[in-house]
């Protein structure tokens, strides 16, 4: 491998090391070197959001980040959503509402929706649609996805209340 650089980073809470060429995207590194194939390649140019991950808590397209930029950062992918084998409530609601067909866009929608709900636990429909405008779905359509996010938000608010 020419120009391979060793990158030490944190992915979904675990320390991870990988070596990648300097011009390789974080998306490719996560898929091919870390084995997290929940990160999907749609357009590769930041338009479709299928490769969405968070980088130090910020929602980004991992196709527009170099793998080497992840040095010392914290990355969260869709694989980081479930805890102890339990699906995240957003994942469960996507199933309940049939908010997916082919599934390529789903991981990106889940990561983007989680980022939205972490910031705004009670978004209205317009806020959800704007927050998910960077994620394209070409089969299910957006209504079911919006309903799933609304339903998940409702459950998450209830759970938070109980915890208090």
């Amino acid at each position: 491998m020419s120009n391979a650089t060793l990158v030490s980073t944190t992915v979904n809470g675990d320390p991870v090391q990988f070596a990648c060429p300097t011009d390789e995207s974080l998306m490719t590194a996560l898929r091919n070197r870390v084995g997290l194939t929940g990160v999907k390649e749609g357009c590769g140019t930041g338009d479709c959001g299928a490769c969405s991950v968070t980088l130090d808590g910020s929602l980004v397209c991992s196709c527009l980040v170099l793998g080497v930029e992840a040095e010392g950062r914290e990355v969260t992918t869709v694989e980081g959503l479930s805890q102890d084998g339990e699906l995240h409530v957003l994942q469960q609601k996507f199933i309940d509402h049939a908010a997916l067909q082919c599934g390529i866009c789903t991981p990106g929608f889940l990561v983007a929706a989680k980022t939205l709900l972490d910031r705004n636990p009670n978004p209205d429909e317009t806020e959800i649609r704007y927050a998910l405008a960077g994620n394209l779905c070409r089969c299910t359509g957006y209504d079911k996805i919006v309903r799933a996010v609304q339903d998940a938000a409702k459950d998450m608010r209830k759970a938070n209340k109980k915890r208090r």
Binding site: T5, D23, G46, G49, S58, L64, L66, A112, A131, N135
Partner: protein
């Protein structure tokens, strides 16, 4: 491709100036990585400025704000002080792309990409923003309207790096606004963009600055449009003069997103609307 993470803007400038091959600066990467993927650029060296201390911070002082070159759109959107001072500029910055793009894209990147349709550029101009430029030897400060020379072209010489954007503290009773027209609700490139800042005195516009985007090879400052507003309470006659001056300043291209005629007309319409928002934000009563 070599990848470097300098510890200061001066070091970044030194690396860029010494490089014999194709060297590119990386901040948010939302333009550079697309060009890389498309094969439009083949860098020998990429200089990532994000490890430079304070470059991802917004600093507030009595003079105003200094927005580091790696501050993302979402950080700008979350900064209460900046939002209160220059809401039009914050809105313009937040119009760019999706939440994913906002997580990375920067004001300096929007400026240096030098697209005629860059949303934040007219808003920075209207707010009186300046680019703080660091070269291998010396620093200079340039008003934002002087940075872009044409599509894809800036005034930066080899090795020069824009370290930050400085914004003045707004004078009392100042308001700004930015409006753009796109055929969609989101995720599109401006067909026309209009930014206006106004300062009022006793309910009357005392100072104004008007800048247009996407209607010429660079963003354009329209002094005639500002003159149309000064001395008025934004009555219909003043707004008509403003619209006429904005339309007259247009020199757009014809493309699938808008014809010359359409862009010229819309520039005037949006200017009137933006002026009203800026006026009300400055405390004016319409």
């Amino acid at each position: 491709m070599r990848y470097a993470t300098p510890a200061s803007a001066k070091e970044a400038a030194g690396m860029l100036s010494k490089e014999r091959g194709a060297a590119f600066l990386l901040a948010g990467g939302t333009d550079l990585l697309v060009k890389l993927k498309m094969g439009m650029v083949e860098p020998d060296l990429v200089v990532d400025i994000k490890r430079i201390p304070k470059i991802d911070q917004i600093q507030t002082s009595a003079k105003g704000f200094v927005i580091g070159a790696a501050v993302s759109g979402s950080m700008i959107g979350q900064h209460k002080g900046l939002k209160a001072a220059w809401p039009g500029l914050v809105e313009a910055a937040n119009l760019i792309g999706s939440d994913q793009i906002q997580g990375r894209a920067t004001l300096v990147g929007n400026l240096c990409n030098a697209s005629p349709a860059a949303d934040s550029v007219p808003a920075m101009i209207a707010a009186g923003a300046k680019a703080i430029i660091v070269g291998p030897q010396k620093r200079r400060t340039v008003p934002v309207e002087k940075v872009v020379l044409g599509p894809g072209k800036t005034c930066l010489s080899k090795g020069e790096v824009i370290e930050a954007i400085s914004l003045p503290k707004p004078e009392a009773r100042t308001g700004d606004a930015y409006l753009r027209f796109i055929p969609r609700t989101e995720m599109d490139i401006a067909v026309v963009g209009v930014a206006i800042s106004l300062k009022l005195e006793r309910g009357v516009a005392k100072k104004a600055k008007v800048a247009l985007g996407a209607v010429a090879p660079t963003a354009v400052v329209v002094p005639g449009a500002a003159r149309a507003l000064v001395g008025s309470k934004l009555d219909e006659a003043a707004l008509e003069k403003l619209a006429a001056a904005c339309s007259a300043a247009c020199n757009p291209i014809d493309d699938k997103r808008g014809t010359v005629e359409y862009r010229t007309r819309v520039a005037g319409v949006l200017a009137k609307r933006a002026a009203k928002i800026a006026f009300q934000r400055a405390g004016g009563v319409l």
